[in-house]
Amino acid sequence: MKKLNDFMVKTFCNAPCHIAKRDDIVWWKAWIIRIVSVLLALIVCGVITVALTKLNPIKMYITMFEGAVGTSRLVWNLFQNTAILLCISLAVTPAFKMRFWNIGAEGQVLIGGLATAACMIFLGGRLPNPVLIPIMLVVSIVAGSIWGLVPAYFKTKFNSNETLFTLMMNYIAIQIVAYFTLEWSVPKGSGTPRTLEFGQLPTLLDQKYLINILIVAVITIIMYIYLKYSKQGYEISVVGESEKTAKYVGINVKKVVLRTMAISGAICGIAGFLLVAGTDHSLKSDTAGGRGFTAIMVSWLAKFHPVFMIVTSLLIVFLEKGASKISEVYRLNSSFSDIITGIIIFFIIGSEFFINYKVKFNKKEKEAKV
C-alpha cells in the first residue's frame, strides 16, 4: 500500500507538467492552436498511411484535395452537401442552446422528406410546380415540427428524458420511411426507389443545386438574427443557461421548450424537403445518411454560432469527400477513409481542450536533490 502510494506521488505530483484552466484566450491564439492541431492531424494521418499502406502521404493528400474540389462538378457537390449539413446543424442549434439534447434530427429530416415525397407522388401532375412546391415546403415543415414537438411535449408534461426520446423517434421514422419506400417503389415491393418527377426544385443559372444553397444561406442569416437579436432567441439562451432564472423572471419555460423544438423540427423538415425535392428526387430510408448526428458535431464545434457553422460543416464535408476519394483511388477499404476522417476530427476536437486549458511545466525544485 505504501509503495503504491509513493508511486502515485511520484508519477502525479512530480510529473513535469500539470493542467490549469485558461481565463480567456485571444482569438488569434485560439486559431493558431486550431491550425496547428489540423497540421498535426495531417502528420499523424501521414504516418499511419505509410505504416498501413506504404503510400506516399503527400500524394494521398493531393488525391484527397482533388476528390473534394477537383472539378467544378465536385465543388458544386461539396457546396450542396455542405448546405444540407449546415441546414440540419442550424436546426439542432436552438434546441442545443436551450440544453434540450435533440439528437432526433435524423428522424425529423426523414419525416420532412417523407412528407415532401408524399406530396410529389399524390399531388404531382395535378398541380403545377409553382403551386406544388410551396405546398411541399409547408407540409414538410409541419411534419418535421410535429416530429420535434412530440418529445418536447413529453418533456414538458412528464419530464421525460429528451435524449432517449428523440433518439428512439429516429428509429420510428426510419421504419416508416422504409415501409413507404417499398410501398412506392417501382415495381411495387421491389425496393428500387421511385424517381419523383413532379415538384423537383428548379435549376437556377444552370446549376441544379444553387437553389438549395440559397435557401440554406437565407436560413443561416435568419437563424443568426433570431438567436442573437430576437426576444425569443434571448428566451432560449436564458432557459438554456438556467431554468431557475427563467422562472424567476417569469419566462414560461414550457412554452419556450415547445416553441423551440417546433422550430428545430421545422428546419429539419426543410432539410428533408431539400434532400428529396432538390437533390435526390427520391426517398430512401438512408436519405438523411447520418447527417442528423454529424450535425450535432458541427453545431458544437462552432459553439452554436450559425456563421461558424458554415466553416465547420464545410470542413467535415470536405474531409468526408476527400477521404472517400482516397479509398476509391487506391482501392482501399472504406474503413481507411473513416480512420483518416476520425483522426482529423479527433485532433480538431482535442484542440478545444488546449484552447480552454493550458499545460504548465513545473519548475524543477533545486532543494529536491539536496
Partner: protein, 516 residues
Amino acid sequence: MEQNFALELKNITKTFGSVVANKNVSLQVRKGEILSILGENGSGKTTLMNMVSGIYYPDSGQMFIDGNEVTIASPKDAFNYRIGMIHQHFKLVDVFSAAENIVLGLEDEKGFDMAKNIEKINKITAQYGFELDPHKKIYEMSVSEKQTVEIIKVLFRGADILILDEPTAVLTPQETVKLFMVLRNMRESGKAIIIITHKLHEVLSLSDNVAVLRKGEYVGTVKTAETSESELTEMMVGKKISLDIERSEPENCEDRLVVDSISCVNREGVKLLDNVSFTARSGEILGIAGIAGSGQRELLEAIAGLQHLDSGSVIYHDPKTNQEENLRDKTPMEIRQMGVRLAFVPEDRLGMGLVGNMDIVDNMMLRSYKKGKSMFLQRKNPKSLAEEIIERLEVVTPSADTPVRRLSGGNVQKILVGREIASSPTVLMAAYPVRGLDINSSYTIYNLLNEQKKKGVAVIFVGEDLDVLIELCDRILVIGSGRIAGTVDGRNTTKEEIGLLMTKSSREEQEGGSEE
C-alpha cells in the same frame, strides 16, 4: 531543532488561471494550539486548507509536519499524516447512522466489530464532551449534530491536526458556544486546531493565534491576546473602516404587503411553510432570522410567485391606487403585469437572479426584455442602465460586455441589486444579500437597502449574521421550521433572544415528531 511545529507551511503559492488564490503563504501551528485563519471571502483561506488536506496541490512551496517535509497529494496522504478537515458542506450518508458514517471507508482489519467501534466512538465523545447518539440516523439530525459526526469522524481516524472550515456558519449562538467548548477540550489534549472564519468575535474568544490573509496574500500572524477587533479588521481589509450601520427611524409606515397564514408542502409532503403571517410596511426594514433552510427561501419565493401555496393569501396594497391585490397563485409575469413593483434579490445569484454566461447588458434585460411590441430585443436602455449601475455602485468590471460570472461575488451582487432597485420597487426582498461579500461591498449593500427604506420601500431582508440583523433591521421576524417563532424589535433585542427563538421552534417540532 528546538520545537517542531505540528504543521508548518512555507511560501505556498497556488493559482487558478490568472487568479492567484494563495501567494507565498507561510504559517505554523503547534500542538495544543488553536489557530484562526481570518480573511474575507475570496482571500484564499479555504484554498490554502484544501492544499493541506490534499484536495488541491500547491504550485510551489513546502509543507512540514512535525518538522519533516511532506508531500500531500491526496486526501489519503493527509489522512496518513493525521490531518483531518471538516468541510463547510457535510459529506455524510443520510440513511446511515452516526456510527456507520464514522466507520465508513475505513480499511478492514480482519473482521469488523461494530460494537467495538461504537465503544471507541463513545470514548471519544466522552473525552471531549460531545453529545452524540451513535445509533441516530443522519437524516434525523440537526445541522450541529451532523457537524459533530464529521468532527468525530476525523478524530476516530486518529487526526491530530484538525481543520474546520467556517464551522459556525450554520450554528445558532448556543450551539456555537458548545462547539467552542469541545474545541477547547481538544486543545487541552494536545491537538492542533485550525479554524477558518471571517467572524471577528469568534476569533477573539477562541483562538490563541490569528493568521490573516488578504486577497490570497499572507498579511501576518498575531497573538489573539495582543490584538483587537479593529486591528484585525484593518489587517483583513487593508484600511481602517467603521463597522457601524446607520439606522434611521422608519417614516410614513403603511401596510404594504400583508401575508396571511400561508402554508405549503414539498413533494414529500413535508411542510415548508406552516401558517406564516406577517406584515411588511413601507419605509421599514423587516429582517428575517432563522437557521438556514427553515423556510426563508420558500417564504420569499411564495411572495414572488415562484412557490405554490396550499392556503393563505398574500395581499399587496398598491400605494398609488389604494387597491388590494392578492398575489397568491400568480406567476412572476402576471404579478408584474398587475403593476406590482416587486424586486427580489434571490439567494442564488448566478443560478437564479442572473445568468452567469451572459454579459452585464443582457442580464439587465432579464426583467425588461419583453417591453415593446417588436419581436426584436432593444439593447439601448439596458446598456445605459448597465453603465449607470457600473458607475454608481463602483462595479469593478472590464466592460459592460463582460459575462457576469467573471466578476467577483461583490460585483455580481451589485449588478443584481442594482438591477432590482432600478425598477423603483415598492417592495424589495433580499435573501442573504451579503453572503460571500467582502466588508466594503457588504456595507455598500446595507447602504442601498437603507436608501430604499428612506424612499418608502418595504424592505424584507433575510440574513444570517445576527449582529447585522440587529443593527440594520427595524423589526426582526424569527422563523423556525417554516413557522414564525416570534417577532422582535431590532432596537432592543439581543442575539441570545433571537437565538433562543430560532432553536425553540425546531425543538418543539422534534418533540412533536416523537410523539406521533
